[in-house]
């Protein structure tokens, strides 16, 4: 794999990553289209994702949850499927949902566009992520890199104690 380009626009809260793989378009597509494959790479180590519903049609919904190793608390995510043009284009919007699975106020939407195209003998994947708000970015990062560290109320006291010490 080669990462060709990372283009970040702070004002637009947008990032475009272009990566190239030594395989066919359909193989790259399968890693998005097959939930059993998708969940093997989406969550960070120690924070595996489980995709429950995976309806890859426009207007469809993809739901997943991620659980840390040390905490019964879990993070739930929902993607609204906006566009599907198998095997070359997928557009989803990431709706933040509360613990009971209902969408939050809706002001922190993340949009992700995946374009897969041939580049000579290789396949190029162009991933465009756009955020409406900083809250959405914070959420994406907190759930994407946090390694087993999740917000439990009991942890707050530990952190405050450590600082006070």
């Amino acid at each position: 794999m080669t990462i060709w380009n990372v283009d970040k626009n702070t004002e637009a809260k947008t990032m475009v990553i272009t990566a190239e793989f030594q395989t066919s378009i359909i193989n790259v597509w399968r890693l998005w289209a097959d939930p059993r494959l998708l969940e093997r790479w989406w969550g960070p180590p120690g924070f595996p994702a489980t995709f429950e519903h995976h309806d890859l049609t426009p207007g469809g919904t993809i739901t997943y949850y991620m659980t840390g190793p040390d905490c019964s608390d879990r993070f739930d995510g929902t993607w609204n499927v906006v566009e599907v043009d198998a095997p070359t284009r997928l557009v989803v919007e990431d709706a933040i949902v509360d613990d009971d699975g209902t969408p939050s106020d809706g002001n922190s939407m993340t949009r992700m566009e995946i374009d897969i195209e041939a580049a000579g003998d290789t396949t190029r994947m162009i991933l465009t992520t756009h955020f409406d708000s900083l809250v959405g970015m914070e959420q994406a990062i907190a759930t994407g890199v946090v390694d087993g560290m999740k917000a439990c109320m009991s942890q707050i006291d530990a952190v405050l104690d450590e600082v006070a010490a």
């Binding site: 990032m15 030594q22 890693l31 494959l37 790479w41 970015m137 707050i156 405050l160």
Partner: protein, 117 residues
């Protein structure tokens, strides 16, 4: 310096911890536009005022908000420059996606019977 690195890691830990909770992220955003009192914040969330105060305390420690007194009110102000924060977050997002694409390729190679390069 090892100490500097440790201190920085601790600060990063606190920052991540502070931002790992939806209520705390919301408090930061709510106080970026204008200052809000702790009791005003308390009305936004279905949790006790004590819990809100603890969340604010975590954010103060992480340097994400500041707190000061005005009369009988405790006012909370977001201490985050929006563009600077967006810049930092995009850098973190790049790191996240670089790691995620490594995993992507690993799964890709497994499913197509190729060795990792």
């Amino acid at each position: 310096m090892v100490v500097d690195t440790l201190e920085r890691e601790k600060r990063t830990d606190r920052l991540f911890f502070a931002l790992s909770d939806a209520t705390r992220r919301d408090i930061v955003t709510q106080t970026l536009d204008r200052e809000r009192s702790v009791s005003e914040l308390g009305r936004l969330y279905p949790i006790s005022l004590t819990a809100v105060q603890k969340h604010v305390e975590v954010l103060v420690v992480a340097g994400l908000v500041s707190k000061h007194r005005s009369g009988r009110e405790q006012l909370v102000r977001g201490e985050v420059d929006q563009l600077q924060r967006a810049h930092e977050l995009l850098d973190e997002l790049e790191t996240l996606w670089r790691a995620r694409l490594e995993r992507f390729e690993h799964v890709l190679n497994e499913t197509t019977g190729k060795e990792d390069q």
